[in-house]
Symmetry: C2
Subunit: 259 residues, 2 copies
């Protein structure tokens, strides 16, 4: 998606239009796709922050029921006096849940509170999906946590500006043998003389590292692939190597779970 800064009704309608053209069972939208990204302060984004009863989630709840599909995407979430960089997951049966971005990038720290919800998985047709947002990709522990919890698919809503993530997700998919669905925005935003260019390259990566599709750097659209999620249940990378059973927790440093 390309996104109009601070124009929620346009962005939501535009996403709905794209979704109407798709028969996908699971649709992933970018981070903060309804508001845009470069807000200067919590006060500035507050007017666009919503909760589960807000315009954005209610709009996608309706279309998820109509089209009998699951949709996840990022939005600015308001809870009491806090604002989170969040993503929702809605499906035919209603709101599955909300993820709050755990690792905030740069100036997001001045605007959002860090995610405070435990990681959890959502059931889609008997398979398990986890949500993460943009900069979370750099920390191997998030995808690892989801995979060890039983994730088959990780939905990754992003506003990437650095070039590394699309290739890094091949590593993340391989090391966990899960599907990755990256939805990244295109276009640019500016604030004063600071310009952010979003790199696009939305992609779907299979548990064997195969890039099933990768979009261009400036192409908007619905990009679809058919996947067989049960492939993520097979953790054998060779007849003699199961990537989970081969883990050597007796050798790894305990610092991995300590600050």
């Amino acid at each position: 998606m390309n996104i109009k800064f601070a124009d929620v009704s346009y962005n939501v309608e535009h996403a709905l239009d794209l979704i109407k053209r798709s028969d996908a069972r699971l649709i992933v939208l970018p981070e903060l796709f309804n508001t845009g990204y470069m807000f200067d302060s919590p006060e500035e984004i507050l007017a666009f922050a919503e909760d589960k009863n807000g315009f954005t989630i209610q709009s996608f709840l309706r279309i998820a029921k109509e089209k009998n599909c699951y949709i996840t995407g990022g939005f600015a979430e308001k809870e009491r006096d806090k604002i989170y960089n969040s993503s929702f997951l809605v499906g035919p049966e209603g709101l599955s849940g909300i993820y709050r971005k755990v690792h905030l990038f740069r100036d997001e720290k001045k605007i959002f509170s860090p995610g405070n919800l435990p990681l959890r998985l959502y059931n889609i047709d008997g398979f398990n999906a986890g949500l993460m947002i943009c900069f979370d990709w750099l920390f191997p522990e998030i995808a690892r946590s989801y995979a060890l919890m039983g994730a088959d698919i990780i939905c990754h809503s992003a506003n990437l500006v650095l070039p590394y993530c699309p290739d890094a997700l091949i590593t993340r998919a391989l090391e966990n043998r899960v599907f990755f669905i990256l939805s990244n925005r295109i276009g640019k935003e500016s604030m004063g003389d600071r310009i952010l260019r979003f790199i696009g390259k939305s992609e779907i990566v299979a548990p064997d590292g195969d890039v099933l599709l990768r979009a261009g750097t400036d192409t908007e659209g619905i990009f679809e692939a058919e996947i067989e999620p049960s492939m993520a249940r097979d953790k054998n990378i060779t007849p003699l190597n199961n990537i989970f059973e081969d883990r050597r927790c007796d050798i790894y440093s305990e610092k991995i779970l300590k600050k």
Copy 2:
């Protein structure tokens, strides 16, 4: 390096010849560079397995003293009735230590015992180096452990046959902000009708993901880059993001350190 199967004296002499042409302070050789790879049984490799008093380590101890440098590389290590897929690190002051491969790949499980030594770092000119071998790359916990223990450089001796690792190490370097030095062999080996082709692509990757050099798929030689190891001490990826301080151990699953 290209390697002659089961010809230790040739391989060691050949590695020494290559090293004599280099003025590097730290030299990384491939996995099992002195013996070759495709042994069929522990009995078959036993004749080529050595300990710290063996021909291989003693040869590199001498040249490390002569040339005032550090050298690490892989060898089959014999300890009592066990054989390990190991790597040594020698320097001007003697044998720094031995690493035993923690994650064995495929048929290695029929030949070698899995590594049983705690992870540790070695001091090189005031910087910290960790050792890992080939398939260890797939498990993010090894490089993460070393990085959290204070590693600046990870020396990776390999006999890679799958295509993923050279790109994956860019992710490993970025997520830990450490240097990676991958030394992979070239050429092929066969046993019966099974052929392994080793992919080469030895490389040095900087903590910012920059690939300082990458060798070809079939080029033997000494490939050198000058690095500033202190770069690995700076864990700030943006003025507001320190990749270690940003970790959210309160959120990650405890399963990361449990089988």
